[in-house]
């Protein structure tokens, strides 16, 4: 019996200690085909891929996986890699200190007769592989840490291909890539398809799915919703299937009043902690007004995160420049100083900087305000729990109990909890660094709603984002950062387009020319 499919997953079920994660999902991939897998966060996409790649061994889930028509019963990732299924995870799995070539051959290092690693062969083969993937500019002898997140993602793909992958699983591969890097990655996937490598492409970014996928499979709440050729679906169709409702307006803009200048940053310069000769942020000045949403756009690595970290007192390297709050200079040396002055930040890297995974959702939320919740030296539990309850219902955080460890929540709900935590100290200025990264469509919408609710209360928002539609859809004003410098300061009106922002981010135009269009 020959199957028309390379891979068939039938009625996959999986539960964690009684909580159903997958309630019977089908997924089929033909040879050389790219299947886009869509679903909100928590829909079960990642669990599905862990079942497929053998992270969850055969026997711990229900249903059946057929590989070229034969049942596949993998006990570990090793077994699935042996048949040619390779997964590229959301988080990078490279060893930064090792060279590109060592990473590509990690675990399968070629060795000579004496049992020593054959570096020459490793470098030559890596260089060949990288050239084949049009990544000739990457030097296989250099440590991976030399390259940015986007390049690292490409290196990871090169590693997957060196394992002779028949089916490549890409789990949110572009969540930390710039648009140029995303384009490179998509071209790479096209090339692979042409060479006969099938892939499953998981992404929240539907324009990527449209571009790359031949077939789309949609899942929702752990259930199979359906599959169809890409040509038969519009983006709106996919969103409707994913969320189970219409989402015609992605950005719920609301009118709000903008007041006087509250924060001024003058001449902010940040030096690279590892290489003080390098200026990660170079003499950037800007201001924020009360009730204003200031978007900060720019390529990944352009210095946006460094800039807001410096303002929040969290930049590890040395930095200079002046910060004025209500016209008075303030000194912010630690995040604690910033929080006390009414400046809070939701960091970019939720897993490493946002959540305390083992701590309860509620205790994560109350972490920033614990000092104010004491009575007679002890935490006033009743007050703490009622504050937590209020926060959970205000941001509609979905959790079985406020005392559940936050690690058990989906990305979107974790993010809402982190935002909640940073709203606790009642900030006047809230910095959101990539607030919707790895967050599903539904939670995104709620975060946008919240942003507007906050500015209506008079808060000022500084939002760093890599998603230009988001920057344009939300901001009142947009700063563009490129190579550590301020490249533009635009009022967000009808004339501001993604193209203009990109042009400012990439072109090395002097600021004086841009100031003609900038906001006073």
């Amino acid at each position: 019996m020959t199957s028309p499919y390379l891979l068939e997953m039938r009625g996959i079920t999986k539960d964690f200690a009684g909580v159903v994660a997958l309630g019977g999902i089908d997924l089929r991939v033909r040879e050389g085909e790219c299947v886009g897998l869509c679903g909100e966060n928590g829909a079960g996409k990642s669990t599905m891929m862990k079942v497929l790649s053998g992270v969850h061994p055969y026997g711990s889930w229900g249903g059946e996986i057929l590989w070229r028509g034969e049942p596949l019963r993998a006990a570990s990732v090793r077994d699935t890699e042996a048949v040619g299924i390779v997964i590229i995870h959301q988080e990078l799995m490279l060893v930064p200190q090792l060279s590109v070539a060592e990473n590509i051959f990690l675990g399968r290092e070629p060795h000579n007769a004496a049992g020593l690693i054959d570096f020459d062969r490793m470098y030559i083969e890596s260089a060949r592989l990288l050239a084949e993937l049009r990544m000739g500019h990457i030097d296989p002898t250099q440590p991976v840490s030399r390259y940015g997140g986007g390049q690292q993602q490409l290196i990871e793909i090169a590693r997957a291909l060196s394992k002779d992958a028949k089916l490549l699983i890409l789990d949110e591969p572009t969540s930390s890539l710039t648009s140029t890097e995303t384009a490179t990655l998509l071209r790479l996937v096209h090339d692979l398809k042409a060479r006969g490598t099938a892939c499953v492409y998981i992404s929240h970014k539907l324009e990527e799915i449209e571009e790359i996928a031949d077939t789309v499979t949609v899942i929702r709440d752990g259930r199979f919703v359906g599959e169809a050729p890409m040509g038969e679906l519009t983006r709106a169709d996919i969103i409707r299937l994913m969320v189970g409702r219409d989402m015609s307006n992605l950005f719920p803009r609301e009118a709000h009043e903008i007041g006087d200048t509250i924060l001024q940053a003058v001449g902010i310069t940040c030096l690279d902690p590892d290489n003080p000769a390098r200026r990660r942020v170079d003499d950037v000045s800007f201001s924020v007004r009360r009730g204003e949403i200031l978007g900060i756009a720019g390529l990944v690595g352009s210095g946006r995160t460094e800039l807001v970290s410096a303002i929040f007192g969290a930049w590890p390297g040395s930095h200079s420049g002046e910060i004025l709050l209500d016209g008075r200079p303030v000194r912010i040396r630690t995040p604690r100083d910033a929080v006390r002055l009414g400046i809070c930040m939701v960091p970019e890297d939720r897993k490493h900087h946002g959540i305390v995974p083992g701590l309860a959702v509620g205790y994560n939320i109350s972490l920033s305000v614990l000092g104010d919740l004491t009575r007679g030296g002890l935490i006033d539990e009743a007050r703490e729990l009622s504050d937590i309850d209020a926060a959970i219902s205000r941001l509609r955080i979905k959790t079985a109990s406020p005392l559940l460890p936050i690690a058990n929540l989906s990305g979107g709900n974790q993010q809402k909890a982190v935002i909640s935590k940073m709203l606790g100290p009642n900030p006047r200025i809230l910095i959101l660094d990539e607030p919707t990264r790895g967050v599903d469509v539904g939670a995104k919408y709620e975060i946008y709603k919240l942003i507007f609710a906050l500015v209506r209360e008079g808060l000022s928002i500084i939002m760093v984002s890599s998603e230009l539609p988001e920057v344009l859809g939300i901001s009142d004003r947009v700063l563009v950062i490129g190579e550590g410098r301020l490249r533009g300061d635009f009022v967000n009106d009808e004339t501001l387009t993604q193209e203009r922002i990109m042009a400012a981010a990439i072109n090395a135009q002097p600021i004086s020319e841009l100031s003609a269009v900038s906001h006073s």
């Binding site: 229900g62 969290a314 006390r340 900087h353 959540i355 920033s368 614990l370 935490i379 406020p402």
Partner: protein, 404 residues
């Protein structure tokens, strides 16, 4: 949108094999979950088994009130250190210097007593203060100067012992005064013991009932009443049994009383104070905690101060117990304290652990020491067995917690 075709029929044999395999996996997972949830219970069962074993091997001598009282007194000093160590480990650090520090502080206490004839209260105050200062010193190096705690306290392990040898000239300081000896060798009167037992039980019972009401008020899952009552009954048996045994000999030994008080105070500190919560948060993710506006360096420093104070209490108790300041006092005690915490379920990765667990671990260590000594097992075998138990305990922990 086309709905996918229904999945093709799976052959019955394959299905059956798959179901069987799933069941087996689930059963294993189930046991794992149960074990990790009731880890403390498992430890208590382990203690019961050990006691039964030793009782059998010693023809009941092990289980006499006199020996159990002895055993608890032996455990008290490791227990004091474990009370501090557990927070150091929860905060994601380690302290290798406490054995030497115990020796140094015990030595200082002996010198103050023997050479300067200071009254006991002043002696204790000075030594506790000194312990806190040394802890602050360690903490400053770790938190502000960013030297890994392993190194800072390894340096302390050498240096504190060196200072002790220097100030004592390498000889035992003796004889210490009667009041100081009484710190380790006096007992709480029987009546006071019973009152204390009643107080402890009443506190536990009220807390539990209040927690029920609070949980209900905030729509949290409330355990069934019978479960809570059963739990209280177990507490009652445990607490009154404990005091009954101690009272059957001479009463509660003072160092044991100190450990009981520490257990209560530090458990409240861990659960109900800002400082306690922040220790867990720092151990879980220090960066996220720092970015929440918490002064994480100060929290770390204070954890080491607490450890220093515990080393001071342990040092005074040791000097009192030996009735002398010995230059070798406390050698390798840091390892017993760390082992107690780890056996008691404290995570080496930080972020998880309890005082009760650490003390249970200390009780297991003391049981092994005491039981094997009674059986006349050679010291070298005792060390091998304790090492093996530590390895086994951590393996069980690793094997029963899920990989992620």
């Amino acid at each position: 949108m086309t709905q996918g075709p229904p999945p093709a029929a799976i052959s019955p044999a394959v299905a059956e094999a798959a179901i069987g395999e799933r069941r087996r996996t689930f059963r294993a997972e189930h046991i794992k979950t149960l074990f990790s949830r009731y880890k403390i219970l498992a430890l208590l069962v382990a203690i019961a088994l050990l006691w039964a074993l030793f009782a059998h091997a010693t023809d009941g001598d092990f289980l006499t009130a006199r020996n159990l009282s002895n055993l608890l007194r032996q455990m008290a000093i490791t227990g004091m250190l474990a009370c501090g160590m557990v927070f150091v480990i929860i905060a994601g650090e380690i302290d290798l210097s406490v054995g030497s520090l115990l020796g140094l502080l015990g030595g200082i206490s002996a010198i103050l007593d023997v050479q300067f004839h200071l009254p006991l209260a002043l002696n204790i105050a000075i030594v506790v203060l000194a312990g806190g200062l040394v802890g602050a010193f360690n903490g400053y190096w770790v938190a502000w100067l960013r030297v890994p705690s392993f190194i800072v306290t390894l340096a302390g392990l050498l240096a504190f012992r060196g200072i002790l040898l220097g100030i004592t000239g390498g000889v035992t300081i003796a004889p210490v005064s009667r009041p100081l000896v009484a710190v380790a060798q006096s007992y709480l009167p029987t009546v006071a013991g019973w009152i204390l037992a009643a107080l402890v039980f009443a506190t536990l019972a009220t807390t539990q009932m209040m927690s029920r009401r609070k949980r209900a008020a905030f729509n949290l899952a409330v355990p069934p009443l019978w479960a809570d009552l059963a739990r209280l009954a177990v507490y009652a048996i445990g607490i009154f049994g404990f005091f009954a045994i101690l009272d059957a000999y001479r009463g509660v030994p003072l160092p044991v009383l100190v450990v009981i008080v520490l257990l209560g105070v530090l458990t409240v500190m861990a659960r109900r104070t800002v400082f306690g919560r922040r220790i867990y948060a720092i151990g879980g993710n220090i960066e996220a905690t720092r970015l929440s506006g918490v002064n994480v360096q100060m929290v770390k420093l204070l954890v080491f101060v607490l450890m220093g104070v515990m080393a001071a209490l342990a040092g005074i108790s040791t000097t009192a117990r030996l009735a002398a300041g010995s230059p070798s006092a406390g050698s390798l005690q840091e390892l017993d304290a760390i082992a107690s915490c780890i056996i008691g379920g404290t995570s080496m990765r930080g972020g998880a652990g309890t005082v009760f667990g650490a003390l249970t671990g200390a009780l297991i260590m003391a049981t092994l020491d005491n039981g094997m000594s009674m059986l006349g097992v050679d010291t070298y075998w005792q060390m091998i067995v304790k090492g093996g138990i530590l390895l086994l305990a951590v393996w069980l922990d690793v094997a029963t917690t899920s990989r992620r």
